[in-house]
């Protein structure tokens, strides 16, 4: 599943460490999410969406064919 975390983070000039701490995960998890190697759980997706003040579907781009 693709996501816009890196794009949004850079747009808002947020460091990976700060995002990681705010949503309660390690920096490595943010890196994996940004690289598309790991898919966030619903809870983490919700926390990330809340952090950016957006809807989950605006950050995580769900592709039904995947």
């Amino acid at each position: 599943m693709e996501n816009r975390i890196q794009e949004l983070r850079k747009e808002k000039r947020i460091r990976q460490e700060d995002l990681a701490e705010a949503v309660g995960v390690t920096r490595q998890t943010i890196i994996s999410l940004e690289n598309g190697r790991y898919n966030a759980s619903l809870l983490l997706a919700h926390r990330i969406a809340a952090y950016f003040g957006m809807k989950i579907e605006d950050i995580f781009l769900f592709d039904e064919e995947e």
Partner: protein, 159 residues
């Protein structure tokens, strides 16, 4: 940066977990000390020329000492997390990180599959060499399969 109050709850839970780990460490230390004491008493009780122990005293002495050392390291490490809030927070975050948890679960699963295959290979090979070993390995496979089935039932009931 403003922190989510949810995580302070997580940190309180982590402090409780640390307390439980220290207690478990103390119990393991006690167990190790008992094993060492038992081994020393057993050695003294043995006749000077006798070798009936068959290395049992040494075995309990070494495992007891190892348990004591391991528990001391564990207690020391856990205490450091409680005394140093920054270190404790990092550890709490790492332990609660969902990716780390998934990695841990997958490691257990893959090592379980590998263990099962190794045991199966062991049964095939040992059958030609020693049937007692083959029977022991088969019993281990049966116990493993039984535990797998029990946990599957228990976990699927909870989810």
């Amino acid at each position: 940066m403003k922190r989510n109050p949810l995580f302070s709850e997580q940190e309180k839970e982590f402090e409780k977990t640390c307390g439980r780990r220290i207690l478990a460490g103390k119990l393991i230390f006690l167990l190790g000390a008992l094993a060492v004491l038992g081994a020393l008493l057993y050695e003294r009780a043995l006749p000077a020329s006798g070798s009936e122990g068959g290395g049992a005293a040494e075995f309990y002495l070494v495992t007891g000492a190892a348990l004591m050392a391991a528990s001391l390291v564990r207690i020391g490490r856990t205490r450091r997390y409680l005394l140093n809030p920054e270190l404790g927070r990092a550890k709490c975050l790492a332990e609660n990180d969902e990716r780390n948890r998934l990695i841990g679960l997958r490691c257990w699963a893959f090592s379980g599959y590998a263990m099962f295959l190794l045991l199966y290979g062991g049964v095939l090979i040992s059958g030609f060499i020693n049937m007692t070993v083959a029977h022991v390995l088969m019993a281990v496979i049966a116990a493993y399969a039984l535990l797998l089935g029990i946990f599957r039932i228990l976990i699927s009931r909870r989810m």
